[in-house]
C-alpha cells in the first residue's frame, strides 16, 4: 500500500515536471526531454500486474498528450515500451526476469543503462515517427530521436543518481 502511494506520487510529480518545465524547453530546435518515461522504467513490474501496468502507461501517455496537443502519439509510444519492457529485461538479464528495476541502477549498473537506453530509443523513435506520420521525414525523425534520447538519458541518470545517493544514506 505504501509503495502504491509512493508510485502514485511519482506519477503525478513526473507529469507535473514534464508539463510545467520540460515541455517548455527545447534545445537546438531538436532536443526534447521526456523525463516522464522514467516512470515506465522504474515501475515495479511483476507477473501479475502486467495488464495493470499497460493501463497505467496508457494513462500516463494520454495525460501527456492532452497537455501537448499531440493526440495519441505519447500514448502509443508509452504503451509500446510498457509492453516490451519484460522482453527487453529478458534480453539483457538472460532469465524471464520481472524484478523491479527501481534500485537496479546501483545493483546492475551497466545493465540498467543498456536497458534504459533501449527503452528510451524505442519510445522516442516511435513517438517522433507517429508525430511525423510519413516516411519522407525519416532523416529528421532519426536525428530528433538521437538528440532527444541523449538529453532524456542525461536527465534520467542525473535524477537516478540523486535518488539513489539519498537512499543509501
Amino acid at each position: 500500500m505504501k509503495e502504491n502511494l509512493q508510485y502514485a506520487l511519482y506519477f503525478m510529480l513526473l507529469i507535473a515536471v514534464q508539463v510545467l518545465v520540460l515541455n517548455q524547453i527545447c534545445l537546438f530546435g531538436f532536443g526534447c526531454i521526456f523525463l516522464y518515461t522514467l516512470f515506465i522504467l522504474i515501475y515495479p513490474l511483476s507477473k501479475n500486474n502486467q495488464i495493470q501496468f499497460l493501463f497505467i502507461s496508457f494513462l500516463l501517455g494520454f495525460i501527456i498528450d492532452l497537455f501537448s496537443n499531440s493526440y495519441g502519439t505519447h500514448t502509443f509510444a508509452c504503451t509500446l515500451i510498457a509492453y516490451l519492457r519484460p522482453h527487453i529485461t529478458k534480453l539483457y538479464n538472460g532469465a524471464d526476469n520481472f524484478e523491479p528495476l527501481k534500485k537496479s541502477y546501483q545493483k546492475f549498473g551497466g545493465l540498467f543503462i543498456r536497458y534504459a537506453v533501449t527503452m528510451i530509443l524505442i519510445h522516442h523513435f516511435t513517438l517522433f515517427m507517429m508525430e511525423a506520420f510519413s516516411l519522407k521525414l525519416l532523416p529528421i525523425v532519426l536525428l530528433k530521436t538521437l538528440v532527444s534520447s541523449i538529453l532524456t538519458m542525461i536527465f534520467i541518470f542525473f535524477i537516478q543518481s540523486l535518488f539513489i545517493k539519498k537512499n543509501a544514506r
Partner: protein, 270 residues
C-alpha cells in the same frame, strides 16, 4: 477458446490499447471537433496562461523593444498614407475586399521543436475568434486557428506539416506553395518556381490571398538560397521566415469580414 484469451490476455489488451492510441492519431480532425477537445483546451490553456503570466516578465524588455519597433513602422506608414490620401480621392483607393477584422492576442504557450508545432492564444470564441482565421505577427505569417474553446484557441503554427501556404513572389506576382521542411524554425522551402522566373536572393515572398485564410500580401519571408535542380529545371528555394518563432509573443488574429461568405462559396464549388 477461453484458454487462448487467458494465455494471450496481455498481448490482446496491448493491441486494444495501441489501436485506441492509433485511432486518436489517425482521426485528429474528428477529435478536434469534439466537445472533449474544447474542454481540454480550456483546462490546459488556463494552466499555461497562469505560468505565462509569471514567466512573461522575463521577456518584457525584448517584447517592448519589438512592440516599439512595430509602432515606429506603423507611424511611418500612417505618414505615407496621409500624404497619399491628401493627394488623391480616397474612395477610389479603397479595395472592396480589405474589410479586415483584427484582434490582438497573446501567445500563452508555443512549441517550435515538434514536427507539427502549435500555439495557444489567450482569446477564444467569446472574443470572436473562429476556426481557420489567420494569425499574423506585425506583418508576417504565424499560423492558422485550429480549435476554439470559450476563452482560448489552439493555433497551428506555419512550422507544421499540416499547413501549406499559398504564396507569391512579390516582385513578379508568381504563385508558389510554401511548406516547412520540419527542421529549422527559421527556414522553409518553395519548390514550384521555374528557372525562367528571375528570383533572386533577398526577394520577398508574400501570401497570395487566394486561400480564404491569409489576407493578401502578408510577408512570409525573404529568399535565402537558390539552388537549381538540373533534372527538372525547377529551383529549390530556401526562405528565411520574417517571424522569429522563438521569441514571438504578441500577435494579431486577422480575418476577412467576409470570411464565412468566401468559405461557403468555395465549399459550394467543391
Amino acid at each position: 477458446m477461453f484458454k487462448f484469451f487467458q494465455k494471450y490476455s496481455t498481448f490482446l489488451i496491448f493491441l486494444l490499447l495501441e489501436s485506441v492510441a492509433f485511432a486518436l492519431i489517425a482521426n485528429q480532425s474528428v477529435f478536434q471537433k469534439s466537445l472533449f477537445a474544447k474542454s481540454v483546451i480550456e483546462v490546459t490553456a488556463s494552466f499555461y496562461n497562469t505560468t505565462n503570466n509569471i514567466t512573461q516578465y522575463f521577456w518584457l524588455k525584448n517584447d517592448n523593444k519589438k512592440l516599439s519597433a512595430e509602432n515606429a513602422e506603423l507611424q511611418r506608414k500612417v505618414k505615407v498614407l496621409e500624404k497619399f490620401i491628401a493627394q488623391k480621392n480616397y474612395e477610389n483607393t479603397l479595395d472592396g475586399d480589405s474589410v479586415l477584422i483584427i484582434i490582438p492576442v497573446k501567445i500563452v504557450y508555443k512549441t517550435v521543436d515538434k514536427i507539427n508545432n502549435y500555439m495557444i492564444i489567450n482569446k477564444g470564441r467569446k472574443d470572436g475568434i473562429r476556426k481557420d482565421m489567420s494569425v499574423v505577427s506585425a506583418n508576417s505569417v504565424v499560423g492558422v486557428v485550429q480549435t476554439v474553446s470559450d476563452n482560448y484557441a489552439v493555433v497551428i503554427s506555419v512550422l507544421s506539416q499540416k499547413l501549406k501556404i499559398s504564396g507569391k513572389l512579390q516582385k513578379a506576382d508568381y504563385l508558389c506553395s510554401i511548406f516547412w521542411n520540419g527542421q529549422s524554425p527559421r527556414k522553409c522551402n518553395i519548390e514550384n518556381i521555374p528557372d525562367h522566373v528571375a528570383a533572386a536572393v533577398g526577394d520577398t515572398i508574400v501570401t497570395s490571398g487566394y486561400s480564404s485564410i491569409f489576407p493578401e500580401n502578408v510577408v512570409v519571408g525573404t529568399i535565402k538560397k537558390i539552388t537549381l535542380n538540373p533534372s527538372t529545371a525547377w529551383n529549390n528555394i530556401e526562405i528565411e521566415y520574417a517571424t522569429d518563432f522563438m521569441t514571438v509573443s504578441f500577435v494579431n488574429v486577422v480575418a476577412n469580414a467576409r470570411h464565412n461568405e468566401l468559405n461557403s462559396l468555395q465549399q459550394s464549388l467543391e
